[in-house]
C-alpha cells in the first residue's frame, strides 16, 4: 500500500500537526522543500515502504525458499517462521505498538494494557454470537472492530480519569488492578459462554467468516480466518493466495493503517507533548500544557488501537479465552516486545514481537512449523543422541529437556540481557547509531552517499 493513500486516513487527529512538524523536523533535505508535500512524504517514508514491501513479499519468499525443489529447503522450513506465525506477529505487534504508544512515549507504564486487547477480542466474539445489545449477529467485522476500539477508548478515559492523578508504580498498579478485575469478571461470567474460564468461540449462529474491507460492499471485502477464509486466484494473472495468506495481507493492511496513524500522532505537536511529559512532566505543565488532557488523549488512542489488535486476533482465531486476552501476562508479552524492539520507538515493538515469535516457533516442540528440535533429531546421529552424558542422562534427553517448548526461558534471558546491556532495544540502538529516526536518517545517508560519489 503506497503511503500517500494513507495520509487521508490519518484524519483529524493529525491534521493540526502538519505544518509545524514539517517545518521543524526536516533537517536533511533543504533543497527538496519545493517539492509537493506528497513527494516529500513518500521520501520520508521510504524506509517504511521498504519494510512494508519486505513484509508483503514474505509469504512468497517463504513459499519459494521452502519449496521442495529449492536447495536447502529443509533448513529453511526449520528456520523461517510460518505465515501463520507472521499473522500473530502482525496483530500482537500492533498491540505491542499501542502499549509502546502510551508507555514508551509518555512514560506511564500501562501494565493492565491487556484490558484493551481483551475488550477488543471479546467484543468481536460476543457481537458475532449476538450477545451485544443493539448490534446484530451479522454486524460487519469492520464495524464491530471500530466500535470495540471506541469502547476501549472510553474505558481508557475512565481508567485514566482516576489513575493519571498518580504516577509511576501506582499508575502501573491501578491499570493492572482494573485489568485483573475484568479478567476475573470474564473468567466467571456465565453470560459470555458455557464455560467462561476456557473462553468462548464464535458460535453456530455466525457461520460466515469475518470480512476486512469496506463494509456492505462485497467486492471490497476479503474473509479472514485460518480455515474458512477467502482464497484469491489469478490476481494480475499469476498470483494465488491461500486463506492464510489472504488473512496475512488483510490484517497487514489494518496494521499498516494503524501504525501510520500512531506514527503521525507521535510526530505531531501532540506527540511532542507526550514526550515532554515523559522527560519532565513538571516542566511541561509549567510551560502551560494541560498535561492531564494530553495523557488522557494519548491513553484513549492507545486503548483504541489495543482493542483493534484484540479484534483482529479474535477475528482471525474466531475464539478468545480470558488467559489469552485479559491476563496480566498478555501485557507482559507486550512489554517484552516493546523493550526488545526499543521502548519509545513505536515500530520497534513489532520487531520485538517478531523476534519473540521467531524464537517461540524455533524452540517449539511441534515439527509442523519447523524449529530446532526436529532439526537436531534429523541431523544428529542416533549414536550421538544416545550417548550418555551423566548417570544415564543422554544427549537426546538433554535436548528434549532443555529445548522442548521452553522458549520462555530463553526469551527471559534475552530480555534480561536487553534490560541490562541494550536498554534502548533494537530500534533505539539503531537510532542512536544513525542519529535520528531511521525513516529520516537512512534516506538522508543514501542521498549524501549518492552526492559524494
Amino acid at each position: 500500500m503506497p503511503p500517500d493513500e494513507v495520509t487521508p486516513a490519518d484524519g483529524d487527529a493529525a491534521a493540526t500537526a502538519e505544518t509545524p512538524a514539517d517545518g521543524g523536523g526536516d533537517d536533511g533535505g533543504l533543497s527538496f522543500d519545493d517539492d509537493p508535500w506528497y513527494r516529500r512524504y513518500l521520501r520520508e517514508s521510504s524506509v517504511h515502504l521498504v519494510v512494508i514491501l519486505l513484509f508483503a513479499a514474505y509469504p512468497g519468499v517463504y513459499a519459494v525458499l521452502t519449496h521442495p525443489s529449492t536447495p536447502g529447503n529443509v533448513e529453511m522450513v526449520y528456520l523461517l517462521p510460518q505465515v501463520e506465525t507472521m499473522i500473530v506477529v502482525l496483530y500482537f505487534g500492533l498491540f505491542a505498538m499501542s502499549f509502546d504508544f502510551i508507555s514508551g512515549y509518555t512514560g506511564y507504564l500501562s501494565f493492565g494494557h491487556a484490558a484493551f486487547f481483551g475488550v477488543g477480542a471479546y467484543f468481536v466474539v460476543l457481537t458475532a454470537n449476538g450477545k451485544v445489545p443493539l448490534l446484530a449477529s451479522g454486524t460487519p467485522f469492520m464495524i464491530s472492530l471500530l466500535v470495540a476500539g471506541v469502547l476501549a477508548a472510553v474505558l481508557a478515559l475512565l481508567i485514566g480519569s482516576v489513575s493519571f492523578r498518580l504516577s509511576g508504580v501506582y499508575f502501573a498498579m491501578i491499570t493492572l488492578g482494573v485489568a485483573q478485575v475484568l479478567y476475573v469478571l470474564f473468567s466467571n461470567w456465565g453470560y459470555v459462554g458455557e464455560n467462561p474460564r476456557d473462553g468462548v468461540a464464535v458460535g453456530g449462529s455466525h457461520l460466515e467468516g469475518f470480512d476486512i474491507g469496506i463494509p456492505w460492499i462485497d467486492q471490497l471485502n476479503l474473509t479472514i480466518g485460518a480455515f474458512q477464509g477467502d482464497t484469491v486466484q489469478g490476481l494480475l494473472g499469476f498470483l494465488n493466495f491461500s486463506t492464510v495468506e489472504v488473512s496475512y495481507y488483510m490484517l497487514g493492511v489494518i496494521v499498516v493503517l494503524s501504525y501510520f496513524t500512531m506514527q503521525r500522532i507521535v510526530h505531531s505537536p501532540f506527540g511532542r507533548v507526550m514526550i515532554a511529559i515523559r522527560e519532565n512532566e513538571e516542566r511541561a505543565r509549567a510551560i502551560g500544557y494541560d498535561v492531564f488532557r494530553y495523557k488522557m488523549g494519548a491513553f484513549a488512542i492507545s486503548g483504541f488501537f489495543g482493542a483493534v489488535a484484540g479484534a483482529l486476533f479474535a477475528g482471525y482465531s474466531r475464539s478468545v479465552s480470558p488467559d489469552g486476552s485479559f491476563y496480566f501476562l498478555v501485557s507482559g508479552d507486550a512489554l517484552l516486545a516493546a523493550i526488545i524492539g526499543g521502548f519509545g520507538t513505536l515500530g520497534g515493538a513489532l520487531f520485538g514481537h517478531l523476534f519473540h515469535e521467531f524464537l517461540r516457533e524455533f524452540l517449539s516442540k511441534e515439527g509442523s512449523g519447523g524449529g530446532l528440535l526436529p532439526y537436531l533429531r534429523d541431523v544428529l546421529s542416533d549414536s550421538l543422541l544416545s550417548t550418555e552424558l551423566y548417570n544415564g542422562f543422554t544427549v537426546g534427553e538433554f535436548v528434549e529437556t532443555f529445548l522442548n517448548g521452553h522458549a520462555a526461558l530463553y526469551i527471559g534471558i534475552v530480555f534480561v540481557l536487553f534490560v541490562l546491556y541494550v536498554p534502548n532495544g533494537i530500534v533505539g540502538t539503531a537510532r542512536a547509531y544513525v542519529g535520528g529516526t531511521l525513516a529520516k536518517q537512512v534516506p538522508a545517508r543514501f542521498r549524501r552517499g549518492g552526492g559524494d560519489g
Partner: protein, 341 residues
C-alpha cells in the same frame, strides 16, 4: 482459595437470620488464615520496596521456587510412617533451609543484576525482575516436567506430607463451627512472621539501618551506614521470607506447589503492599488483615449462595485495590510523599 472454605463445612443456605456464632467463627478463622498467608507473601516485597524502592516482580516466582524446594525436603524426609512431631520438625527444618537458600539467592541477585540498575529510572528494575519471573517460571517448569510432575497442578505428594491433625479432612469444633487445623497453624505462623520481622526492624542494628535508609538513604550513608550492604541484606531477607512462605503454601490444598503459584501469589502480594502503602511494614500488616477478611467474607457470601458469582472473592480483592488507589492512593499507613514514587 475457594476450595479451602468448601472444606469448612456445610454451606448454610444464606439468609442473614442464620448468621450465628459458628458462622462468625468460621468466617473469622478463614479470613485470618488468609490474612496470615497474605502477610507472609507480601512482607518481603514491602521490605525491599521500603528500603530500595524496587518493586520486585519476581517475588511470586521466588515463593513458587520456595514451595517446590520446601516440598522436595518434605517429600524426601517424610515417609508414610512418620509421626506428627517428626513431620512438624521436618517442616520447620525445611522452612529454615529454604529461608537460608533463598536469602543467598536473593543476595546474589541483588549484587549481580539489580545493583547495576540503581541509577536508571525505576522502570528498569520492574523490567529486570519481570524478566527474572519468566526465567524462574520456565526453569521450574523444565525441572518439574523432567521429574514427571504436572507443572500446572498442585504437587499432591507435598500436600500429603502434613500431619494428620492439620489435615483439611480433620476439622475441630469451635463454637459450633468446623475449624481446620491448618488454618490455625497458618494464623500462628503469620503472627510469628510478623513478630519476627517487627523484631528485626526495631530491635536489631540492621533493622535500624533499614529504617534509617528508608527515611533517607543519602543521609544514612553520610552517617556511615554501609547502605549498599544493607540493600543486599534486605533483598536477600525479603526473598528468603518469600521462599519460607512458599514452604507453608506447599502444605495448603488451596495453593500447593505449582508453577502458576508464582503469578497467583504475586498479584495478591501487590494488592496487599499497595493497599498498605508501599514500603510501610505496619501498613502491609493492616492491609493483609483487611484483604484477608474481605476475601474470607466474600468466600462465605459466595459459598452460602447469596451471590452466585464464583469469582466474587478475587474480584472484590482487586476492586478493593482500585477503590483504595482512587480514595487514598498513599495507602492505609503511607505518607503523602510516597505517592510520588
Amino acid at each position: 482459595m475457594i476450595d479451602a472454605v468448601a472444606a469448612l463445612g456445610p454451606a448454610a443456605p444464606g439468609t442473614l437470620a442464620q448468621v450465628d456464632a459458628g458462622t462468625v467463627v468460621s468466617v473469622l478463622v478463614d479470613g485470618l488464615s488468609k490474612a496470615a498467608i497474605y502477610v507472609m507473601i507480601a512482607a518481603g516485597l514491602t521490605l525491599i520496596f521500603g528500603l530500595m524502592g524496587v518493586l520486585n516482580f519476581a517475588h511470586g516466582s521466588l515463593t513458587m521456587l520456595g514451595a517446590y524446594a520446601g516440598g522436595l525436603v518434605l517429600v524426601v524426609a517424610i515417609s508414610s510412617g512418620s509421626g506428627a512431631l517428626t513431620r512438624l520438625a521436618v517442616f520447620f527444618a525445611a522452612v529454615v533451609a529454604v529461608f537460608a537458600a533463598l536469602t543467598a539467592v536473593g543476595a546474589a541477585l541483588e549484587v549481580t543484576l539489580v545493583r547495576p540498575l540503581y541509577d536508571r529510572p525505576p522502570l528498569y528494575q520492574i523490567l529486570l525482575t519481570f524478566g527474572l519471573t519468566l526465567i524462574f517460571d520456565e526453569f521450574a517448569r523444565m525441572v518439574v516436567e523432567f521429574y514427571g510432575l504436572q507443572p500446572r497442578s498442585a504437587w499432591q505428594e507435598a500436600v500429603g506430607t502434613k500431619p494428620e491433625f492439620l489435615a483439611e479432612s480433620n476439622a475441630y469444633d469451635v463454637a459450633g463451627a468446623p475449624v481446620v487445623g491448618l488454618d490455625l497453624f497458618e494464623i500462628v505462623l503469620g503472627v510469628v512472621t510478623v513478630a519476627a520481622i517487627w523484631g528485626f526492624l526495631t530491635r536489631t542494628r540492621y533493622g535500624l539501618y533499614i529504617r534509617a535508609g528508608s527515611e533517607d538513604a543519602e543521609m544514612a550513608e553520610a552517617l556511615g551506614i554501609n547502605i549498599r550492604r544493607a540493600f543486599t541484606v534486605v533483598f536477600g531477607v525479603g526473598v528468603g521470607v518469600a521462599g519460607a512462605a512458599g514452604v507453608l503454601l506447599a502444605w495448603d490444598t488451596a495453593w500447593g506447589a505449582s508453577v502458576p503459584l508464582g503469578a497467583e501469589t504475586l498479584l495478591p502480594a501487590f494488592v496487599v503492599v499497595i493497599i498498605g502503602g508501599l514500603g510501610t511494614f505496619r501498613g502491609t500488616v493492616l492491609a493483609a488483615l483487611l484483604v484477608g477478611m474481605v476475601d474470607g467474607l466474600m468466600t462465605y457470601v459466595f459459598n452460602s449462595g447469596i451471590v452466585e458469582f464464583p469469582g466474587l472473592p478475587e474480584l472484590t480483592v482487586f476492586l478493593t485495590l482500585v477503590v483504595m488507589l482512587i480514595v487514598r492512593p498513599q495507602g492505609l499507613a503511607g505518607v503523602e510523599e510516597v505517592g510520588g514514587h
